[in-house]
């Protein structure tokens, strides 16, 4: 895992490639094409790129309208302004009629860094999970982001995809990507660590640190938060008896709750949610912010060790 690429960058480049093979794909942005990386699509397919200006709700609804004409709109902005500001447009105009709109939001979570708490969405997974019928995807590395970007075009219905600003490690192994199918990345008998997005490489590193202490944990990449891979979650929870969830998101409403929903009343296990503990983020270098909120590999390893 030497190379680092942000999932937003992989998304933007994949989108431009997707445009070459799928002429139904159109891309909308709200004056953030340079940051969301839809700029690559804009450069390659200017006739199918629509800037909606700084008006995110309007963008989502234009996406809704475009989808009714047989096009496949990808709407991008920052997670806070998409899932947050435009929540109700997504809920009522896209999800309620089950329109085929792909909502791909970047700059999710604390790793936004310097822009601070106003721009660090720790609620978007929860907001999108709440909407009936919404599919929620959080790619863990650049390869997965690319595969997901392509997979969304073949999937009928609304999807929310969460992408990160900061560059994160690219896995050496090439994993398959199937919506709703979690990827087991490491096997270990002592605990099952379910992670998503930027926390997957951190969880893998935490697992290596724990292994040095003789603790073997499984690491499962839950790239699809909804519909969650319930079989995989239940299997690894039962197998290990210790469940840890790790997410760059509030511990309320996100991956942790999705995993808990699967296990509640079905699997007897210990359970630890690692994430943002009902707080807003703050400015700082991304790595410093992540450390401040306890989301680095060594901190995750220490928390896991403490719970076993």
């Amino acid at each position: 895992m030497s190379e680092k690429i942000a999932t937003r960058e992989a998304y933007g480049k994949a989108l431009a490639e997707l445009g070459n093979v799928n002429d139904k794909v159109v891309v909308l942005d709200a004056d953030l094409a340079g940051a969301t990386m839809t700029k690559f699509f804009k450069a390659a397919h200017p006739d199918r790129f629509f800037d909606c200006g700084i008006a995110e709700g309007n963008m989502m609804d234009i996406g809704a309208g475009l989808s009714t004409t047989g096009l496949v709109p990808y709407c991008s902005t920052f997670a806070l302004f998409g899932a947050g500001r435009a929540y109700e447009q997504i809920r009522n105009s896209i999800a309620y009629p089950r329109f085929n709109v792909k909502i791909c939001c970047t700059h999710a979570g604390l790793s936004v860094g310097e822009d601070g708490g106003s721009h660090q969405s720790v609620e978007d997974i929860g907001l999108m999970r709440l909407i009936p019928g919404m599919t929620v995807i959080v790619p863990a590395d650049a390869n997965e982001a690319k595969k997901a970007t392509f997979a969304l075009a073949d999937f009928q219905g609304p999807v929310y995809m969460r992408l990160a600003r900061s560059a994160t490690p690219v896995f050496e192994e090439d994993y398959p990507f199937e919506i709703g199918k979690a990827n087991v990345m490491r096997e270990g008998k002592d605990a099952a660590v379910f992670a998503c997005g930027t926390m997957v490489p951190e969880a893998l590193e935490a697992a290596r640190l724990l292994a040095a202490d003789g603790i073997e944990v499984s690491v499962i990449n839950v790239h699809t938060i909804k519909p969650i891979d319930a079989d995989c979650v239940a299997k690894y929870a039962a197998k290990t008896g210790n469940v840890i969830t790790v997410e760059e998101h509030s511990v309320i409403g996100g991956l942790g709750d999705a995993v808990a929903d699967v296990l509640m009343g079905k699997v007897n296990c210990k359970f630890l949610k690692i994430g943002v503990n009902d707080q807003f983020g703050q400015s700082g270098k991304a790595a410093d912010v992540m450390r401040e909120y306890g989301l680095t590999a060594d901190q995750i390893a220490a928390k896991i060790k403490g719970t076993l």
Binding site: D61, G63, L71, N92, S93
Partner: protein, 269 residues
């Protein structure tokens, strides 16, 4: 359809509205009645649609941005052959296709789910843009409420319509002057609406929204290339039922049995 024929249909749509809301014991007759002549004209004389093939990809599109006027929408769709009048009894009831506000998943002829104000115009913009991108000659119509124009997103949609030169889009503002809490001017004045609409780039037609000939002329009028059309239609909330006309109280209240009888009596040809 000529004016006399259209007038007959409009009267029947008004009867449909009264029957639907009275059956349900709830709903929005006031703003439904103000939209009747506009919506009927669009559906009968202008839209390229086929009730037998409601999802034809080349059909023209309609978005009822003021989704609470659903009884008018359903009333028109029934007369145009998309749904049966037999459905009216189920309006606002469990398991009905006729939800309190239009649900595109359920009703043939409904192209967008609306009801939460301020969103339909943006959806219509997306439809018009989608047609342009694909080189189709689809026309898109949307009806907004005047109170709805207090939603900022309406003006975002207007900006986009002008920016993307959507001359295949017709925005109709049902300007009945009233909203839930009172008149527009009491609640939140819209100011000089015609000037604002022009300033946002529309080719504007200001008409009496109950004059079928004026509606026909405005809908048929050409627009300069690249300019979206706006019809600012001055209407009467509750139009056609004497005791409902210009009454704020009939925004979201259904007629009782006696009122229904009286209304239907007034709505005979």
């Amino acid at each position: 359809m000529n004016t006399a024929e259209l007038k007959k249909v409009c009267t029947q749509v008004r009867r449909n509205i009264i029957n639907m809301t009275a059956n349900a014991g709830s709903g929005h007759p006031g703003g439904s009645l103000s939209s009747v002549d506009l919506m009927t004209s669009v559906f009968f004389n202008h839209m390229r649609i086929d009730p037998k093939n409601p999802r034809n990809p080349d059909r023209d599109r309609f978005v009822l941005s003021k989704g609470h006027a659903a009884p008018c929408y359903y009333g028109v769709l029934a007369e145009r052959g998309f749904i049966s009048r037999d459905e009216f009894i189920n309006f606002r009831q469990l398991h009905s296709i006729l939800q309190g506000h239009p649900d595109a998943k359920k009703v043939p002829g409904v192209d967008a789910s609306t009801g939460s104000l301020g969103q339909g115009c943006s959806i219509a913009v997306g439809m018009a843009l989608g047609a342009k991108v694909q080189g189709k000659d689809t026309k898109v119509y949307t009806i907004l409420g005047d109170g709805e124009c207090q939603e900022g997103q309406i003006w975002e949609a207007f900006m986009a319509a002008a920016h993307y030169k959507l001359d295949n889009l017709t925005v109709i503002v049902d300007n009945n002057g009233l909203q839930i809490d009172g008149s527009n001017d009491e609640v939140m004045s819209l100011g000089d609406l015609p000037a604002k609409l022009r300033a946002f780039g529309f080719e504007l037609f200001e008409i009496d929204g109950h004059d079928l000939d004026a509606i026909e002329a405005a809908l048929s009028a050409p627009v300069p290339q690249g300019k979206p059309k706006c019809i600012l239609a001055h209407t009467v909330k509750g139009k056609g039922v004497s005791f409902m006309e210009n009454q704020v109280g009939w925004h979201g209240k259904a007629p009782n049995a006696e009122q229904r009888e009286q209304a239907l009596k007034e709505l005979e040809d």
